[in-house]
Point group: C2
Chain length 219, copies 2
DNA sequence: GACCGTACTCGTACAGCGTAAGAATGTCAA
DNA sequence: TTGACATTCTTACGCTGTACGAGTACGGTC
């Protein structure tokens, strides 16, 4: 039963569905999701396009697969009694989705639900004493914030390092008397090149969590 | 032979950029955004694909244009003193984006900001006494909820009328002891064919608005 | 009439996309 | 050696956006 296959004879590392997916994630991260084509992905793997179809039914399966890869990086809320574990989990989701800026919109349009994560979040709320009704409302409020905010920020951050310059130029051409608040917004937000620390995401998150807390205490 | 009023050579109404965009919106509404191709849109207008390029630089301009058409349907918050005008405006945005389920994700990826709406929302918060900082936070929290929730719901509602059956079958195959809360969630949400009235959207919206209110009163 | 500029529409072509069909190649067991 | 099977590649098809240039219609002017 000695494995006779000598890797030296065939320099290519063995292909696999997992290897395809990992390469797809890397390609999407580095070159954008629009660069993820069957031919380009195949070239990346040193192979022809049709070879991929031996490991994957079609491109949709690749898209679903890389969404799963990314989703598995998200930290689920712990099982303990503290329902504010959701806070950590939400921040984790935001961070992961910002590392893979193409993932959020794919995740929303994915036909296949992430049951494990959903179960963990719902259970966390339920154990904290929320009613079924309130649990569902809370779940959607949280998920909406994560997705909405992340999608917005990911759209902004397409060209992160030259954003201050872009904002400055935009500001110069903006008719200020017509859009004074927009001008103010851009100024405080973008022109000074502050590192994004997630505080904006957390503001909205805490708005929701504190609101839920209050509802829970009232009931 | 009088060829003048031959039905095959029907009198085409005059083409225009606006007519192209309106047809594009209708096509996307009726057949999905993925059906919006230059050739199909042209056929819809009784014309060849390349004709469209006389009115529009490229397809991206069409996509930007139809986003603007949809955005203009959204009711901006009124200029008055009541900052909860934002509530009406947010609900309007949600309704409009649900009428055009392809629009939300396009709007998020659009490179061109909707200054008028942004100015109205920011001004509304500012006039209510929020600090610049808080205004920006509130703006993003609201916008995130609108976009995140609408995108989620639009993804769900792809095949609205047969959703209860789908949910029932999904539920039948779901390992209940493994995902009890998910099962509960699906049951209360989908199996009974309740008309969606927007109450879920408004729950999260009010969580945010009430949270902002409290912050305003504290300061 | 003839001529011409302008506005508009279309035919053709090309590179790139996902992928169906099947041939070619490599590897192992009998 | 033969045959079965796993893996990869070649070719081709219909679709996409769109570059390029050739029509076509319709005013003026001479």
């Amino acid at each position: 039963m000695a494995v006779q296959t000598e890797p030296s004879r065939r320099p290519r590392s063995p292909m696999s569905r997992e290897r395809v997916l990992r390469a797809a994630v890397r390609l999407a991260d580095e070159a954008g999701i629009e660069s993820l084509t069957m031919r380009r992905l195949a070239k990346e793997l040193g192979v022809e396009a049709m070879t991929l179809y031996y490991y994957v039914a079609n491109k949709d399966e690749i898209l679903g697969g890389i969404v799963d890869v990314v989703a598995s990086e998200i930290e689920a809320p712990a099982d303990g009694p503290d329902w504010k574990e959701l806070r950590k989990s939400a921040i984790s989701a935001h961070e992961v989705l910002m590392r893979h800026r193409w993932a959020a919109s794919l995740m929303l349009s994915s036909r296949h639900p992430r049951l494990g994560h959903m179960e963990a979040v719902l259970g966390c709320l339920r154990r904290a004493g929320f009613s079924a009704e309130m649990t569902h409302h809370g779940y959607h409020a949280l998920e909406s914030h994560i997705m909405g905010f992340t999608l917005w920020l990911a759209g902004m951050a397409l060209d992160a390092e030259k954003l201050p310059d872009l904002a400055a130029e935009f500001l110069r051409e903006l008719p200020r008397q017509e859009f004074p608040h927009v001008a103010e917004h851009i100024e405080t937000h973008f022109v000074k090149p502050t590192e994004y620390t997630g505080s904006e995401f957390e503001f909205g998150l805490d708005l929701i969590l504190d609101g839920l807390e209050r509802i829970r205490e009232e009931s």
